[in-house]
Amino acid sequence: MPGLSFIAPTTIDEAVRALASAPGLAKCLAGGTDLLVQLRSGRSRPELIVDTKRIPDLIGIRDAGDHFVIGAATPGASISACAPLCRAWPGITEAVDLIGSQQIQGRASLGGNLCNASPAADSVPAVIAARATCVVAGPEGTREVPVEAIVTGPGQTSLKKGEFLVEFHVPKPAPHQSDAYLRFIPRTEMDIAVVGCAVNVTLGERGVCRDARVVLGAVAPTPILVPEAAEALVGHWLDEETLARLDAAARRASKPITDKRGTIEYRIKVAGVLARRTAAIAFKRAGEC
C-alpha cells in the first residue's frame, strides 16, 4: 500500500474536508471489522483512512425525546448495553447482537454494517423496519435520509465523494409497537445470514395490526423493504391465513442468488418461513407493550 495515510479528525468539518480533498480513494474507519479484512485481502486499496471514532457525534447513544440518536461508529457492545434502546426496539438490538463474536462486538458499528453494503448485513433490516433515518455530512452540509436510501448494491452506497454518515435517528415506538429480527444460519454463532428478516408492527384495537414494515436481508442485492408483506399483515390478526399471505409475499419479493450458503430455491423457501416466525415474535412483543 504505497502512500497510504491515516488521520483521526475530531470534528465533522475536518473529516469532510479530508474525505473531499483526497485525490484518490478515501475510506472511513469505524470498527474496522470489514475494512481491515478488505485492506488485507487487497479488495480495498484506499490512499487515505479517516478514523471517525474521535468525532464525538459518532460515538454513543442519546435520547432526543421522540427518537434515539445512535452515533454511526458506536460499537455493538454499547448498543446492547443501552437498556432503554433494548426495551424500545428488541429487534434492532438483537440484530446488532448477532454481528460476529464478542470481540467483533467490541468494535463493529451500525454505520460500518450499513456502509459496507453487504446484502446480508444483520442490523440493517431492523433499522429500516423502524423507519430510522441517517444524517449524512458532506461538503454541502448535512442531509437526513431514510436508511433504505443508503445501500444501492453489494458494496455500493449512495454516498457522494466527501460524504459520510454521522448518526442514526431511530423513532421511539408508539404504544403496542414492537419489532423482531431473525436470521437463518447453518450454525448457532459466527456465520453470515442465509436469509434475515425484520418485522416491525403496531397493533390497534383487539390486537389487529394497524401498521407494519417487513424487511428481508440476503435475498437481493440490497436489504429489501417488502410493502406487499406489510399489506398482508395490516388489518389482520396473525392467523394462519395472514401468515400464509405473508409467507407468499416474502417469497415473491425474494430475488436471491445461489452461493455456498444456499441455493435460490432454498433461500426463497426460508424467506417465507422466517417471515412467519419473525412476525409471530413481533406481534407477541407488540401485544405485551
Binding site: 495515510s5 464478542q102 470481540q103
Partner: protein
C-alpha cells in the same frame, strides 16, 4: 512509507512506537514491541487468538490498526498475571489441562478474564457464547469451559473473603 508516532498504555506502562498506517495492532505488538503472547491465527477476526482488551472492551488486535492505539489503554495476555502470581483463569487452565498445543490459549485467557470482569457468575451457556469467537482445534472446548467456570467460582470465593 510514512511512519506514525503513537503514544499509548500497554499493560499499565506508557509505551511509544512508530508504525506504518496499514500495520495492525497485532503486528505492532508482536514485531515492534516483542509482545508475542498474542497470536495470529487467521488475521480476519475469526479465531480470537489475537484477543486484547482496549479501553475495557475486548477486540481482535488483527482488526485494529496500530495507529488507532494512540491514547488508548491496551491489555494483552502479558498483562493478565500480577507479577509472578497467575490470574485465577491462568491457574485453572493449568489445573484443568485446558490446552494442548496452546496456540489459542492467550486469546482464551484474555477473553475469559474479560468475561469474568463483566459477569462473575456466568452459566455454562453464557461462557460458551462469550467464547464463541475463540477457536481451538485441539481441546474440544470442554476443558476450557470447565477451567473458566472453576476460575469464576474461585474468584467469587476470593471476593467473598
Amino acid at each position: 512509507m510514512k511512519k506514525y508516532h503513537v503514544s499509548t498504555t500497554i499493560n499499565g506502562e506508557p509505551v511509544e512506537f512508530l508504525c506504518e498506517p496499514q500495520q495492525t495492532l497485532l503486528d505492532v505488538l508482536r514485531d515492534t514491541l516483542n509482545l508475542t503472547g498474542s497470536k495470529e491465527g487467521c488475521a480476519s477476526g475469526d479465531c480470537g487468538a489475537c484477543t486484547v482488551i482496549v479501553d475495557g472492551r475486548m477486540v481482535c488486535s488483527c482488526l485494529m490498526l496500530g495507529v488507532e492505539a494512540e491514547g488508548r489503554t491496551v491489555t494483552t495476555v502479558e498483562g493478565i498475571a500480577t507479577g509472578d502470581t497467575l490470574h485465577p483463569v491462568q491457574q485453572k487452565f493449568l489445573e484443568h489441562a485446558a490446552l494442548q498445543c496452546g496456540f489459542c490459549t492467550p486469546g482464551f485467557i484474555v477473553a475469559a478474564k474479560a468475561l469474568l470482569d463483566e459477569n462473575p457468575n456466568p452459566t455454562e451457556e453464557e461462557a460458551r457464547y462469550w467464547l464463541a469467537g475463540n477457536l481451538c482445534r485441539c481441546t474440544g472446548y470442554d476443558k476450557i469451559i470447565r477451567a473458566v467456570l472453576d476460575a469464576a467460582s474461585e474468584m467469587r470465593r476470593e471476593a467473598a473473603e
